[in-house]
């Protein structure tokens, strides 16, 4: 979601007394961070599980209207839905450790969800990785160009682009890209995995949000960096401005960008929900929309939990990566709510 960025976490940056590398405090931090992630995950699973038990039981049957009371009861018993919720939750967690997410009720009757997801996930992952790469390729030069020519064409263009992408709901411009892009490229509106041309638009649309995001932050950091004394000194010494930009400003400004990796991952995840159902891409996002439409409770539960996992893992990776790359970050003391 767009409003997700506003006030997104900033790892607390503090000066560290000793300049040691991967030391005890870091290890401690990693373990603590991992533990908190696992606890969060457990809480999320519990909440999702309990909430979905409140749904009407139709979502567990492929032909509820025609079934009689006895079959319904038998099915409920077989699925373990008559047990108290804590028991059900425990069973679910136990199965989860074995990689068993349950079976689909309506979408593909009786098929193990883990298998369905395993079949759908590769396309989503490919799309996600490609779009994140494309976002870097487009966003970083754009941000750098904006910072270099402050107030000139690229800055203005970038500003308009960022405002547009941030303000207008993604669903709207995705539809327009599909509508005009497909007729421009002369292809059909639907995705075809074998036809590489049909990959262009979905990947491009998915990358747009992150592109704007990277460009916005990189520009901000670079402008901050450009106002620092050492840059002024370098300029006074007569160092080539391009050199200053590449060697000093860009490098220093790029480091804090790492902390936006988890956010961009979340962007990509929610973007995939739109894009995949728009272009009928056989991936996870499209699957989620599909099973919501068919009210397939076990599938919704499994996919929602999957997505939460991706989010949590993303945040975890971002935090750890940030710690490894920038030694100025303290692992000992976290200030407040990050």
């Amino acid at each position: 979601m767009m409003n997700y960025i506003a006030g997104r976490r900033m790892a607390s940056i503090r000066k560290r007394g000793s300049g040691r590398g991967f030391d005890n405090s870091m290890l401690k931090y990693c373990v603590k961070r991992l533990a908190s992630s696992i606890i969060t995950l457990l809480i999320i699973i519990t909440v999702v599980f309990v909430l979905l038990r409140q749904m009407p039981i139709e979502g567990y049957f492929d032909n509820f209207e025609k079934a009689d009371q006895a079959t319904i009861n038998a099915k409920l018993e077989q699925l373990g839905l008559n047990d108290p919720i804590p028991v059900q939750l425990f069973n679910f967690l136990k199965n989860l450790l074995k990689g068993d997410l349950g079976t689909s009720a309506r979408y593909s009757v009786g098929a193990p969800i883990a298998q369905i997801i395993a079949k759908k996930a590769p396309v989503s992952i490919k799309l996600g990785v490609l779009s994140m790469a494309l976002a870097l390729i487009m966003g970083i030069p754009l941000g750098a160009a904006m910072a270099r020519g402050k107030g000139r064409f690229w800055d203005k263009f970038g500003t308009v682009f960022i405002v547009f992408i941030n303000a207008v709901p993604a669903a709207v411009y995705h539809i327009f890209i599909q509508m005009y892009g497909t007729s421009f490229l002369g292809i059909s509106m639907l995705f075809d995995e074998a036809n590489l041309v049909t990959w262009i638009l979905p990947v491009f649309s998915m990358a747009l949000g992150n592109t704007a995001y990277y460009a916005m932050w990189l520009r901000r950091y670079m402008v901050d960096e450009m106002n620092k004394d050492y840059v002024r000194l370098a300029r006074a010494k007569g160092v080539d401005s391009r050199k200053i930009m590449m060697r000093h400003v860009f490098r220093n400004a790029f480091v804090p960008m790492i902390q936006y990796i988890p956010t961009s991952l979340l962007y990509t995840v929610s973007g995939s929900i739109y894009i995949e159902s728009l272009y009928s891409i056989p991936g996870m996002g499209g699957l989620l929309v599909d099973v919501i439409g068919r009210q397939d409770n076990p599938m919704v539960q499994a996919i929602v939990i999957m997505y939460s996992c991706i989010g949590i893992v993303g945040l975890l990776l971002g935090d750890l990566l940030m710690g490894m790359i920038d030694p100025r970050i303290s692992f000992v003391k976290k200030e407040g709510a990050r």
């Binding site: 941030n166 159902s277 939460s308 949590i312």
Partner: protein
């Protein structure tokens, strides 16, 4: 025995106190405690300036031309959405408009500013028939007869576009083009000859087509001189309309004949209402939690942990989950959005409060015995007004966007509550047909204007409220 010095000092003292007593009696005690009047020169001596935070903020804000322009656009739009249903000639948003004569839905009418199709000169002879469901309107046409496919008739005069024909006792004109496919001899100008058409054919009384692709047109009563047996002559230049109404469907109609213009504005109303409610609820919950979180030290740890848990779940997932579990509708949607939105606000308020809560003026206030609620309301919150307003301004487009997203994945509002989300979603289903794209484009444009305006105004205001930018 008192010395002379003592006697002298006692005397002086008595005299002095008598003097003071006299002067004191003359002064009215109330006058001593009257506020001094504001004196500009005196004020300048101590470095007073009449700097006002809000005035300065507004001054900076009004320098940003784009933001001011968008502010006017947004204000105009807001006012218009409110008064639109009360304007004359508006169709209700959920009314399914039917053709009164045929009873069929006026579906997928293209956007048009007028209902006039053609203008007939004065004295045009037409067949007229009063329209049942529209008082004062006549449905007119100049079709005198219709021929079935493969009926034989005589062409008595040949023309490139119109042919004069005779069929039984009727004389009139038929169109001669690639659609009518008249069967013509080798030399069509050698008249009369017998011909026929492969399709149904209308015979017009004049070589003009006063029909809307074969269906009747509508004229108000006063433009016609009604004759006997269903004939009428126009008594002035008459505009023939496709509807028995002067109110056109400016944005066209959707596939069941609802007026898109009314629906777009009604949808804007719904979406803005969702946006405002969500923003206000977010502000209330966010400020309350944020203040508690920041000010009450005992709560800090636990609230931080709660925040970390909720913040780890993608917002989208919470939105989807809540909308999936509860019954779809306005309340569910607002509830789901409020459930996630306050987090950011609370965190922001908390961080600010942690920074300023132990500043000297607050310590002083606390030492003087000011109660905590008073410190919060009087000392802390005024500092945060600008950031709170910024976050509220940004959460409105956010909420509108979330509504579009939720509708898009099929968990949004039912179609009988028009919102920009479900209008766009309905329009999206039609993008394969180029002629029907207006059903997507109109709501998308309005939505973009609203969200971009809020975004830019909110950011411009935040910049203006930042004291660094003040003069």
């Amino acid at each position: 025995m008192a010395s002379f010095k003592d006697i002298k000092s006692r005397k002086l003292e008595a005299a002095a106190s008598a003097q003071i007593q006299k002067e004191l009696d003359a002064v009215n005690e109330d006058e001593l405690f009257v506020l001094a009047e504001y004196d500009e020169t005196a004020a300048e001596k101590t470095g007073y300036s009449n700097y006002s935070y809000w005035r300065s903020t507004l001054q900076v804000f009004f320098k940003n031309r784009t933001a001011v322009f968008l502010l006017f656009v947004l204000a105009a739009l807001l006012i218009f959405t409110v008064i639109q249903p009360y304007l004359p000639g508006q169709y209700p948003a959920n009314l399914i408009n039917n053709n009164p004569q045929t009873g069929k839905q006026l579906s997928n009418l293209a956007p048009s500013l007028t209902t006039v199709l053609v203008t007939a000169p004065e004295g045009t002879a037409l067949t007229a028939e009063p329209v049942k469901n529209a008082e004062g309107w006549y449905s007119v046409t100049n079709v005198v007869d219709s021929l079935k496919a493969r009926t034989k008739f005589d062409i008595v005069e040949y023309g490139e576009e119109w042919c004069r024909v005779e069929y039984k006792d009727v004389t009139g004109y038929v169109k001669n083009n690639f659609q009518t496919k008249l069967k013509l001899p080798e030399d069509p100008t050698a008249v009369p000859y017998e011909s026929r058409s492969n399709f149904k054919l209308d015979i017009f009384s004049t070589p003009e087509d006063y029909t809307n692709n074969g269906t009747a047109l509508y004229v108000p009563e006063q433009l016609l001189t009604i004759g006997e047996d269903g004939t009428a002559v126009t008594n002035a230049e008459a505009e023939l309309r496709i509807l028995p109404s002067e109110n056109a469907f400016w944005f066209g109609t959707n596939n069941i004949g609802q007026d898109l213009w009314a629906r777009v504005w009604s949808g804007t109303r719904t979406s803005l209402m969702i946006g405002f409610i969500v923003a206000i609820v977010e502000a209330i919950i966010g400020i309350t939690v944020g203040v508690l979180w920041g000010y009450v030290r005992k709560l800090d740890r636990i609230l931080t942990e709660v925040y970390n848990v909720i913040d780890n779940i993608p917002n989208t997932i919470i939105l989807i989950l809540i909308s999936y579990i509860l019954k779809p509708g306005l309340r569910t949607l607002i509830f789901a959005m409020c459930l996630t939105g306050w987090l950011g606000m609370a965190r922001f308020i908390r961080n600010q409060i942690v920074i300023i809560r132990d500043r000297d003026y607050n310590l002083a206030s606390r030492c003087l015995g000011t109660t905590t609620p008073r410190i919060i309301v009087k000392n802390l919150l005024p500092y945060l007004v600008s950031v709170i307003m910024l976050r509220m301004a940004l959460s409105i487009p956010g909420a509108i966007g979330s509504e579009v997203f939720i509708t898009y994945i099929g968990l949004g509002l039912p179609v009988d509550i028009p919102s920009l989300g479900n209008l766009i979603n309905e329009g999206r289903k039609l993008i394969t047909s180029e002629a029907l794209r207006y059903q997507l484009i109109f709501p998308a444009i309005v939505l973009s204007i609203v969200t971009i305006s809020f975004y830019i105004i909110g950011n411009a205001f935040a910049d203006a409220a930042d004291p660094k930018n003040h003069v």
